[in-house]
């Protein structure tokens, strides 16, 4: 339903297209009628299973067909045969269904179910190592999806689930994940999904390494400063920056915070000279000045001047900018 251009066809082409389509519909309805017949009869045979394959190959969003398939697989197979059938489904998804439908919720759900069911079977057969191997393999696979589309939120979400599964099996990957976000950010500073993931990982990574937020703040600020100076118009690094500074203000010693704010304000002033119409720099300056609790007439005036400039260069959001004005007391 998204991104479909209008194609203008002449009457002859339209008529030809219609004939082809009517034939396709006729073929499809045969599959549909058979599927509905079997489903209504609560058929639990291999025939029914094959019917779901046929349906889903034509219509991967037919969620009832996926539901039926999940009822049928353990009804038709058990034990090692079921494990093999699940592996087969996973290959089918990886090679055929997912590449064509990378953002279908139903398809990702089926993948999840196959893996969860397979994990249970392997665990029951005392093959714990195989389960770990299975999840590690999933991590490699999901990375391929992210190479194709770094903003595919289904893939990112699935990645997080795989990491959690591995954690529950005693495999802790916080350090590797932390490095992963850094590499995604380095590839493309405009990788919002990576900065977002990093914001969630930070507390987990700190806990895993048993280090304090204080000890990493400067490194994070350096990473961010590099990002701003390279790509000042990429919003994601600015949002992460605001979040990190607010976190510092909540958790760290007041003097430390005041010093960090002061040095970042100085840096942003420098950057603003080079990029005088970059709204991200201006809004972050306002943010930092607001974050520092001190109030003065000077500060209020500085903020007012920034707000006026913002309203001039970004008039759509003038009402928002108006809410940023500070009192001087």
């Amino acid at each position: 339903m998204h991104g479909r251009k209008i194609i203008h066809m002449d009457a002859a082409a339209e008529a030809a297209r219609k004939i082809v389509m009517l034939e396709q519909i006729k073929e499809y309805r045969v599959k549909l009628d058979e599927f509905m017949r079997l489903r209504a009869a609560k058929d639990s045979s291999e025939t029914a299973l094959a019917s779901t394959t046929t349906m889903l190959s034509a219509y991967p969003d037919h969620y009832t067909a996926w539901n039926y398939r999940r009822e049928l697989l353990p009804a038709v197979y058990s034990g090692a045969a079921l494990a093999q059938a699940l592996q087969s489904d996973l290959v089918w998804l990886t090679k055929t269904v997912q590449p064509a439908n990378p953002k279908s919720y139903w398809v990702w759900n089926h993948r999840r179910w196959c893996l969860d069911t397979l994990a249970s079977l392997l665990t029951a057969a005392s093959k714990g190592d195989d389960v770990v191997a299975m999840w590690r393999n999933e991590l490699l696979l999901v990375n391929k999806f992210l190479e194709l589309d770094a903003r595919n939120f289904h893939a990112w979400g699935y990645r997080r689930e795989v990491i959690h599964h591995l954690e529950s099996l005693g495999v802790f990957l916080q350090e590797a994940e932390w490095a992963f976000t850094a590499s995604k950010i380095a590839q493309n500073f405009s990788n919002y999904s990576a900065w977002h993931y990093r914001s969630h990982l930070l507390p987990e990574w700190l806990a895993a390494k048993n280090i304090s937020f204080d000890s990493v703040l400067d490194d994070e600020l350096e990473l961010l400063n590099n990002a701003f100076f390279t790509e000042p118009n990429d919003q994601s690094s600015w949002l992460y920056f605001r979040w990190i500074m607010a976190k510092a203000a909540r958790e760290l010693d007041a003097d430390r915070v005041a010093a960090a704010i002061a040095s970042q304000v100085a840096l942003l002033d420098e950057l603003l000279d080079m990029e005088p119409t970059c709204k991200w720099i201006m809004t972050c300056l306002v943010f930092l000045l607001t974050l520092d609790p001190a109030r003065s007439a000077e500060k209020a005036a500085r903020v007012q001047s920034l707000v006026s400039k913002l309203q001039e260069i970004d008039p759509f959001r003038r009402d928002y900018y108006a809410t940023l004005l500070l009192s001087d007391a």
Binding site: H2, K5, I6, S199, R317
Partner: protein, 344 residues
């Protein structure tokens, strides 16, 4: 379809192709020669909700015929669990069950439910101990389903059937570094999920206590691109459906003034197809999904000639008022960045 100066001077309401949109929506069930019609059967009930709501906002609430609509909706009912599938013979799922409740409410036909309590339990039973909701018995968790449950149960007058505190706790756990919300804890902010989370919290009367509302409002206002259209998350393309997800969220938060109304109206109007319907953006094929959200967006912006839409439910305001379940938007500028930062 950029308006000429003379077009702009004309009565603005005339630029909305009301009659064409009504005809377009009415024609949608007559598409059996289109393969795509067959391959979207699983969401037909959603389609009826989108179409019926759009027609209502266009001032033609009975254009699809009340009896036919109610009959079709009930054909999607599954007696074994009290829920609804996307079409007759399809399994029950939250998404379609909410559409069913919305359609029945709009047509004053909630009494068509053969066992109202069973339907209430369909929604309530999908809540997990952590407060989240699954879409169906297969266990997919998503804040979309928190919204579906909150809306359906509010319309049915049975919010008490869910654990409200836990539901709120889960939704709040989905708030991110940028103030936005994702589909599960840890998931990236996305305007559709923001609508679902803000909507769910608002329905459950907990919106005013959510942290970082000013940051959220700003994130939402930053969805407006130079061409006036709205995108769903940073660095993505504009799309008419975000005229709803983003705009209704801003409306609930009392922050609609934080985007440029006129430019957004221009964008939405430019996505109309001359033969009827709205597409995701100008020059693309229309569909009933974008038709509803384009029209609902225009209604929220006060475009003349449209019925009022409720931002929390995406249903006609009249219907919501009659049910006595309206939620007032938060007072404008009740949240400022300075106040929020000071609170932390």
């Amino acid at each position: 379809m950029s308006p000429s100066p003379s077009e702009k001077l004309r009565d603005p309401a005339s630029r909305l192709l009301v009659a064409k949109h009504i005809e377009y929506i009415k024609s949608l069930d007559d598409q059996k020669d289109d393969l795509e019609y067959w391959l979207t059967e699983h969401l037909r009930l959603n389609g009826v909700y989108w179409g019926a709501t759009a027609l209502s906002l266009l001032g033609a609430p009975d254009a699809l015929g009340r009896d036919g609509v109610v009959q079709f909706t009930m054909s999607c009912y599954n007696a074994d669990d009290g829920g609804f599938g996307g079409f007759s013979g399809h399994d029950s799922h939250m998404i379609y069950s909410l559409s069913a409740i919305q359609i029945l409410a709009m047509h004053d036909a909630l009494d068509a439910l053969p066992d109202r309590e069973k339907t209430v339990q369909f929604f309530a039973s999908l809540q997990k101990p952590d407060g989240s909701f699954t879409g169906d018995k297969w266990g997919e968790v998503d804040t979309r389903f928190s919204y579906c449950a909150a809306s359906a149960l509010t319309i049915l007058g049975r919010v008490d059937a869910m654990d409200v505190d836990k539901a709120v706790e889960f939704v709040l756990a989905c708030q991110n570094f940028d103030g936005g919300f994702g589909m599960v804890p840890g998931a990236e902010s996305h305007a559709a999920m923001v609508f679902c989370c803000v909507g769910a919290l608002h329905l459950l009367n907990r919106l005013s206590s959510v942290p970082n509302l000013s940051a959220l409002g700003w994130w939402l206002s930053e969805r407006q691109l130079p061409n006036g259209g709205l995108n769903g998350r940073p660095e993505k393309l504009e799309d008419v459906c975000y005229s709803w997800w983003v705009l209704s969220s801003l409306a609930m938060l009392g922050m609609v003034a934080w985007i440029n109304r006129d430019k957004l109206i221009e964008f939405i109007l430019s996505a109309q197809y001359e033969k009827g319907g709205f597409a995701d953006r100008p020059g693309h094929r229309p569909d009933v999904f974008h038709t509803l959200f384009g029209i609902a967006g225009l209604s929220l912006l006060g475009f003349p000639g449209l019925e009022s839409v409720d931002p929390t439910y995406c249903m006609p305001t009249g219907v919501i008022r009659k049910l006595g379940i309206e939620r007032a938007p938060l007072a404008a500028t009740s949240a400022t960045e300075a106040a929020e930062l000071a609170k932390q």
